[in-house]
Amino acid sequence: MNKETINLPRLISLIAEGASVSPATARRFLHDLFAYVENCLADGETVKIDGIGEFVRSDDSANPVLFKADADLAAIANEPFSAFSAVTLNDDAVAEIENVNTPAIEQAAVVEEQVPEPQEDQVIEVSEPEQPIVSEPVDEIEEPAQPEAEVQTEPIQSEEDSVENDEVVETAEVPAPVVPEQEPATAPEPVLDEAGTVEVAKPEEEEEAETAPVENGLAEKPDDENHAAEQKEDTRRYAQAPGYRKLRHRDYSHNHPAQSASRNSSGHAMWLVLGVLIGLIIGLIGGYFAGKTMQAYELPDDDTALLLEDTDLLADADPVQEVKADTIPVVEHQAVAQNEAAEEVKESAKPAEQAPAKAAEPVYDTITSSRYLSILARDHYGVKNYWIFIYQANPQLGNPNQVRPGTRVLIPARESFEEATKEQTDAKARKLLNQLAKKYKF
């Protein structure tokens, strides 16, 4: 705090000036006075100085002197706030007060910082000619304080009104050049006409000047309750006090429940969005790599080709039947025996074309995570157990339970391992399986 302290030399000079005595006398007077007071206090007596207050001796060693200011002095010191008394609040009034106080006080603080110097001069010019006209019997003490209060209140009120309607502020600035041109006696009249709500109240008494804008504020905000209005009025009056400028501007936003809640919620939302974004990014990256590795296992380039080969095989099987179907109408005209013969001819003709093709190009297939040896065997031979023959045809496989996906295996032709009967083939498969089971212990 930049609190001004009057030190001893200045105090002495002030006293000497005020009482029109020599500084040396003032110094001696002060010395004697406080030496006397101290002596009395040391004896445990109470000292009362008129116009200053009472000094009372206390037993508290940390604060051995209690001072009670004279009623007169206390009243003068507290003069800016003397209009107020303690107000009893309703239980549910706290939220309202905080709502009302916070914007008003913050606004006032901001306005005081923003008020340009020339504007204050303008207001002083306007208010000075008023006083002779009004010619109110005002106390001597209040008179010097009044212009100061005016200077502070006027910009504040006009600023506050400017929040609600800008026109008033513009008109409020207009009268300043108007005043000096005209005679002081008539000056206030045009000012009144031109200026809006704020200036109308000016020539009237101070109390009205204070209440009029407040009432305007009330009218424009009908949902404010009476209590809230009182609080608003209070805060504006506080703003007039000379000491208000030194009032440390509290950060009310911390105490404001609604504001802090909204801030918190917005913070939460921000974190939520941030978390979701991070999750998305991680998921995308992870999915990309996982997909890449899965692709490497599942769909090597030749896999699709082999699948096409499979379908070719199926297609190879189908034409035979189609051919049969085609031949049937042809054959119908002939005898049954002829029919059979024709079929044989056709069948022998077709496989004759296909068999060399099959024998020529060996069938390959690729093991994937979903198509392993037994599935391949089922697909190619119709019997799951015949995977052992596929395994035998591919000696590079190693442990049949640990074949890596993507391994390309040769599918041996059925004739290469098939025995005369199915039972024999099954037995052979079982025997081979046993051997394999012994080898790899499964």
Binding site: T5, L11, V21, L30, A77, F84, L89, P242, K246, L247
Partner: protein, 71 residues
């Protein structure tokens, strides 16, 4: 002379400044903000208005001397 001193203190109080008297103490005008106080007796909440109070802080020398005489 006493009156002029009282005047000085009064003026300093109105301007929220302090008057320091060496080896005796400081007269200081302190502004208290408005506050909400719970009345313990009635349980009501009171809004106290802001106020300026003239306080006196005894100087360290005075405290020491007075405490010495107390013993």
């Amino acid at each position: 002379m006493l009156e002029s001193f009282a005047n000085v203190v009064r003026n300093s109080a109105t301007s929220l400044s302090a008057v320091a008297i060496p080896s005796f103490g400081t007269f200081e005008a302190v502004k208290y903000d408005e506050e909400i106080v719970n009345d313990r007796v009635t349980g009501k909440r009171l809004l106290l208005p802001p106020q300026v109070v003239v306080e006196f802080h005894p100087a360290a020398m005075l405290r020491k001397r007075l405490n010495k005489t107390n013993e």
